[in-house]
Amino acid sequence: MADWQERITRDTKPSIRVEHDLRYAAAAPIVRDAAAWADLGCGAGVAAADALGAQALGRVVLVDSDADALRQAGRDLNPRETVRVQADLATETGVAQVRSALAGGPPGIVTCFEVLEHLETFVPLVEALIALGAEGWTVVLSVPNDAFWALENPYHHTMWGEGAFEELRRLLPADTVIAHQVPLDGSHLVVEASGGTLEVPPVQPRPDAVPSHFVAAFGPQRERLVSRALAIPSDLDGRRTWERQRESTLAVLEAELAELRAYVKWSSDELARLNAPPEVRDQTPETLAQRDAAAP
């Protein structure tokens, strides 16, 4: 998995980063008060660390399929206890590992942001989340609105959008709290030598705004998911780095593809020539020219 695209890192494009930060910030009040918190698909834990900082937390269970990301996750948190589970959440076994790590203690909160779309099958995980909700856990999950842009993300095994989310929603408890995450644009005029934090003026939301993500919360603390927004400073320098990295990687891959295509074409032509009858096989521009010259 390319680190710059599907994993949230310090170099991630700010507009994607703020979306991720906001989801964790929305769950943070529940996480802070919970005896246990499981973060499914935690990645490197960058957004969670930003949202929770050094605040004291209960038992933290971090789950991801990537060992490197899992090692980094949780380093900036201040939990009573950290449990790391490397598991593939597309499998019954992986989900069972998570259930096992959560068993025994009092229920808390499960966050599952931008995970379902990456799974070969979401059936075991969705079933487990519903079961956890029934056992007293609060579950907050999100899926992207890929369908609106018809983005064919090679890392997404399933396509999520309004219709697919409605299918999921109907599997969840009837009192599930639903939120649509919608993007905002902004700009900041900074007078030289001024400092301090920025007060963003009230923004009138568009009633027909297209969501970038769909968020659902169910379980006893679901009502604590409330409307909120988050602004972070844009990092144009970082963005330029990200975009150039993407462009350069794409250019390299396209060049490699062109080279491979040329090689395949040459191989096919050569194979055809070798399989042809001798009089055809031995034809080259030189032999043809000689034949033409010898012709009466």
């Binding site: 099958t121 979401f122 369908a147 399933t158 697919a164 109907r170 599997l171």
Partner: protein, 408 residues
Amino acid sequence: MKVAFLVNDLQLSGGVGVVVEHARQLARHGIEASLVLARERLDPDWRFRGLDEVGVLSLAEARTQRFEVAVATWWETTEALFEIDAARRAYFVQSLEDRFYRPDEPQRLGAALTHDLPVHVITEARWIAQTLEELRPQQRALLVRNGIAKDVFRSPAELGVRLHGPLRIVIEGNPGVWFKGVGEALSAVRAMGEPRWVTVVTGARDFDATGADEVVGPLTHDEMASLYATADVVLKLSRVEGMFGPPLEGFHLGATCVVTAVTGHEEYVEHGVNGLVVDWDDPRGTARALDLLARDRALRHRLRLGALATARAWPSWEQAGAMMASALREVARRPEPAAVPGVARALGDVRAAIEAQALVVAERDRLRYRVAPIERLDAVVERAPWRWLAAPLRRVWRRVRPGRVGAR
């Protein structure tokens, strides 16, 4: 987990095709799904993709087994639902099937009554879920949209601009089924002024195909995909649809659509974005929309691009299968629905049917009163001397009466 899907038969129909595909996909999620024929097999099965991967049982065979979930898939299969030993029962509602029948057809009531059954509901379109929940507010329908066979309806990486040639139109549907709107679609293409090439896809041949350049079918999915790949527009003027599949299949091959605002279209058709939505009973307006697409190649290409984008976002059968697996597991988890609200609604529906039947009987009595003098005259004319005298007149009448076969 063992699941039984009840089907009436395995003949060619969109609804049965959807059930076969779901049953096939469920194996990937550890669910053993069987198709149970709710009535005796009379005709050979249609060659549905993957049918050989799914077990097919007779009702008698199914009665000897125990299932976690039994699922009716058509209103006539609901009776058999209660003959099967199953922990939970569900109804996969693919359309509000009472609308398939005209108001005076008794099957209409039969189909409507099945929605009052105390079983879980899985449906394939949001409009059906919302309608059923309005009818029975305590019911919470599960939603599983139909997938698309992405390996068959394989979208092109890029869409070429078509600068030349006539507007290539595909009309799909059985002309003998009143709500498919095939006749209306042919009327619309006949009213076009711009060059067009019209292909009607149907197994039927005994219909007025004036306006069509070719009639083909029945076609397999592969053949349909090849046809859509050459088409510019799918013209579908249906009056009743469930999930409304054909235009979506066309979208996958880069064909836009011209459709009525039939139920199901709202799931993916956006007027001016990926297709055009036309008015009901408006062949001239529809013809103008088609003429516009024929003339304005930029608009046509934009709509085709929009259609392709919509198609890319639509779930595959693999995703739909995962959702069906989750839905069936949820059905198994949920308690049995309470019977009382359904019974109350059923009694209300029966009451409404009795009143409708009373109106029919009253109309029949009124007509009988009007017909009585004619019947008396007929009785007189049937007597021997009069019958001989009236015979030539009867022969003439048989020749000239309106509605006679061959009469102009």
